[in-house]
């Protein structure tokens, strides 16, 4: 049986330039714009599809036709709802998107710090705490238990960051 130290394990670089953190921060930066564009597109589609709005041009006519022909049971049920209920979809969607954008932005800031080799800092502890609270809100709004579990784990991680920061500060002031 091979000894663990002799085994070739893949060595990932997690912090610093050209690392997992660096790539993740870039992906998150792109994701922020993707989420925003998807929200705008979805809002437009819902507005056109739920209220059968057309502006006399081929594009909106096509969207309205597609919305009418869609057979998904949830969509059909949503279309049958009264206007007041349909209108509520938009603030709900806006709230979810706003939370998601804030989560992505905060996470990106933390990964940028990791990329710059700033790991145990007060800023990261504050970001982790804020992100976990936003994730709790997001999981409640989307009824997602997995996200709730992740956010609680992140909340625990935030305490580790706080302890790590305190240790780091003490280490820095030990001469």
């Amino acid at each position: 049986m091979p000894i663990l130290k002799d085994m070739k394990l893949p060595s990932w670089k997690y912090f610093g330039d050209r690392s997992v953190s660096s790539w993740t921060s870039r992906i998150l930066q792109a994701s922020w714009y993707i989420v925003l564009v998807l929200f705008l597109a979805l809002t437009a589609f819902l507005a056109l599809g739920l209220f059968d709005i057309t502006f006399g041009d081929p594009l909106t006519a096509e969207v309205a036709k597609a919305a009418m022909n869609e057979t998904d049971p949830d969509w059909v049920e949503l279309r049958k709802m009264p206007i007041a209920a349909k209108v509520l979809v938009f603030p709900y969607l806006a709230a979810i998107t706003a939370l998601l954008l804030m989560i992505v932005k905060k996470s990106r800031r933390m990964f940028m710090n990791f990329r710059n080799d700033i790991i145990f800092s007060r800023e990261n502890a504050v970001i982790a705490s804020g992100t976990s609270k936003l994730l709790i809100g997001f999981s409640v709004l989307t009824f997602n238990f997995t996200t709730l579990l992740v956010s609680l784990m992140l909340l625990m991680l935030c305490e580790i960051f706080k302890s790590g920061t305190a240790l780091r500060e003490e280490q820095d002031l030990t001469i």
Partner: protein
């Protein structure tokens, strides 16, 4: 915390500048300054040993206890 580091007094007695001591014991001026100004949270035995060796003094000459001293920021 009532512990005061009396490095400035010992250095003045030996007529040695702070940067010279830093160079001799191999730590940065900034770190020695943290020690001198009382901002340090702890001191390594190895650092204390190096300072005592270089200044030919006892740890008791470097450290003083003052009961009513306020906490450093």
């Amino acid at each position: 915390m009532g512990i005061v580091f009396r490095l400035d007094r010992v250095l003045a007695d030996r007529k040695m500048p702070l940067n010279e001591l830093a160079r001799r014991i191999g730590i940065t001026d900034a770190n020695l300054s943290i020690l001198k100004t009382g901002k340090a949270k702890a001191i390594r035995i190895s650092t204390l040993d190096a300072i005592c060796k270089e200044l030919n003094c006892q740890p008791g000459e470097l450290l003083e206890f003052k009961p009513d001293l306020p906490e450093p920021e």
